[in-house]
Symmetry: C2
Subunit: 413 residues, 2 copies
């Protein structure tokens, strides 16, 4: 199996000022193509450190994907570092230069030496054209390793990487092919998910991951052909779905909110949301889904008791008697927003996200989530730990999951 | 200057399934402490690959911070890999074990061997206690390098790292000390920010970064002492603030929402939010701030025209005449929520986040943001590009920034 290393270059990454989104993107693509990512390295815009990182990578990987530091500024030293490391000169690629001239002139600017620098590539390299920007990329074979160097701008890098990998044989002849698939669940423990998919382990490697209550399980299947690997994945997924039932809400890019949106569309139902402790996060997540405006009617963030009463019609006596953080108020909020919006499904959340606001009986992390749907209702009590944001996130996921289950007509135990 | 490398361990990182948020966090902390981060490496839960990464790191860094793979499952191999690499055995740390027993028993579960594994550390290591969870961390000196190994759970790792670094001398005698500071601005172009801080470049390195409309500038100052570096930072910050004026909203961890929260508290004012295209994101951001419940009264996500009229009192004729996405409706939404909640400040957002919903006159990315505050009001028209989520995020930032400026009694040009 081809092994690979991803190297990202940028002082802002090394200082921790930005999160590097290129590496996970590239890792995903390589894994999908059956290339095994073994190491990810980041280094600043520093020629000597970069050269030392290249040396290490050349010794341990077949394919090395490098991004960043190809721009026009003096800080961008990737071209020089690579040509130094390969022991060749930088030469002008005429085609890239013409492309740069066109772009620069369309911006009513004169072409400078800094612009020209972006068309320089190590002598003997294969040029990877940049249709979305100015900096040319390139590929170069050095020793036993294949180096592919691309700009750090995600929109440019992504299409260049795709193009390059399409033209390249992705696995060595006679080698196995690996594919992955991820299945997402909610409302079930990591242990239970592991147990349910554990016996697939002979054919495939299985790994679980927990994120704000979502337990995801990734399956890595290896077979002599891509079709063979896909078949294994299908079988493992079918088995997992059978065992995990309605806890499974999607695969790959799917989220709880996209699953809810899909069900709303399928059954032609509408939804409305009344939030206290989740503070708008449930509405925010739902409204991230394109086309949701047909099904999402309204949301209310009723932080104050006054808002709970005046907008949602929660009786003041109910709040006085049970407290704003109570099973009864969560239900009344869900019913209130459902009634006032005439939606099919109503969500209500109330709780103590902390760090303040706890009382003797009601600790930080106590949350009630209610979902009403066509006459039926369900309220869940959660006792969560963690920071304010963690409590918001888990509660929002729980609310979305309850809405999802109510839309599949399934009651949780 | 002490050099360092950050190693994160996890197959889900190496496959690109999650974005590693620990590395930027650690890089930031180390840089603030005057430790130079040179390399960041990620590797899967694989003992042999991890050992080879440790070997590389030991040769090129003084301080190596390792996170991940310390949990109870069979996939967690970090303890074994490190003790192997150091050439010592794993031994039980009694204090950590007692701590684990307490936590496990409080969850009404029996302590298993898998739990116990989390109290094992390489013989001779300094234990770094985990007050937020079960997995013990440790520090170990091997050759010329200092290894610090912590769990990958961010909440646990962060406090353990802070504790460890506080007890440790941060720079070698006789060496220069580097410090960084980041200043955040909104409503001003990256070029303008660069120009304003450009002449500080002699004493300090300056770098800009744009994120959802926030233009941040990072300053890296180096001096023989920490006090000297801090003095340079103070001077550069003062100069930048003078030139950039009210565009500056904070430094370091501060966000637009935390700046708004601070001003609400300072002036004892309240706020309420009416959102259409931002879909709850403004409320969500504000309610991420601890203690906001005193100042944030309520939020409404009025996606449908009916909700705009019935909850916010936007006249139906206004929507018919100008359309839901209009200057007039944005203002009426802000006024409506201010009136119904009796808040000092009201925010209204309406726009077309896309990908659908565009008309001939109103393209995707057309957004109106209104802020009313004690009788005065302001409406901004935005013409944004990008995906649905990008449009939501930029619009939410713009709304928060307008609220911030209204609270500092400053009108934008």
């Amino acid at each position: 199996m081809t092994t690979s290393e991803i190297i990202t270059i940028g002082t802002e990454i090394i200082l921790g000022q930005i999160t590097d989104s290129n590496t996970p993107y590239i890792a995903n693509i390589l894994t999908e193509k059956g290339i095994r990512v073994q190491f990810q390295t980041s280094v600043g815009d520093d020629k000597e450190l970069l050269k030392s990182a290249l040396k290490v990578a050349a010794e341990r990987a077949d394919l090395i994907i490098i991004t960043g530091g190809l721009g026009p500024t003096a800080n961008d030293v990737t071209r020089e570092a690579l040509s130094d490391f390969f022991g060749v000169s930088l030469v002008l690629d005429e085609e890239s230069y013409t492309h740069i001239q066109k772009i620069v002139e369309s911006r009513h600017r004169k072409v400078t030496d800094a612009d020209k620098k972006q068309a320089m590539v190590p002598e003997g390299a294969i040029v990877v054209s940049n249709t979305h920007g100015t900096a040319a990329g390139f590929a170069f074979r050095h020793g036993n390793a294949e180096f592919v160097c691309l700009p750090g701008v995600p929109g440019e890098m992504r299409s260049m990487l795709q193009t390059y990998l399409e033209t390249r044989a992705t696995s060595k002849a006679g080698e196995d092919c690996s594919l992955t698939r991820t299945i997402h669940t909610f409302g079930i423990s990591e242990r239970a998910v592991e147990d349910a998919v554990g016996d697939c382990n002979e054919q495939a490697r299985v790994m679980t991951l927990v994120h704000d209550g979502v337990v995801s399980v990734s399956i890595l299947a290896t077979a002599p052909t891509g079709e063979g690997a896909a078949k294994i994945l299908d079988a493992v997924e079918q088995n997992a779905r059978q065992k995990l039932g309605h806890a499974v809400f999607g695969t790959g890019d799917e989220t709880l909110e996209s699953a809810v949106a899909l069900l709303l569309k399928k059954h032609n139902k509408t939804i409305a949301v009344a939030e206290s402790c989740t503070g708008g996060l449930v509405s925010d997540k739902l409204t991230n889904i394109p086309g949701i405006s047909e099904f999402f009617l309204e949301g209310v963030v009723a932080y104050s008791n006054r808002a709970k009463s005046s907008i949602l019609g929660v009786p003041e006596e109910l709040i006085t008697k049970h407290g704003a953080v109570s099973r009864e108020v969560a239900r009344a909020m869900a019913e209130g927003i459902q009634k006032r919006s005439a939606a099919n499904v109503g969500i209500g959340t109330t709780g103590i996200a902390g760090p303040g606001g706890a009382t003797k009986d009601k600790p930080v992390g106590l949350v009630y989530v209610a979902v009403v749907s066509d006459g039926a209702f369900e309220v869940k009590e959660l006792r969560l730990r963690g920071a304010r944001i963690d409590i918001k996130r888990f509660s929002a996921h729980c609310a979305l999951n309850m809405a999802r289950l109510s839309l599949t007509q399934v009651r949780q135990p």
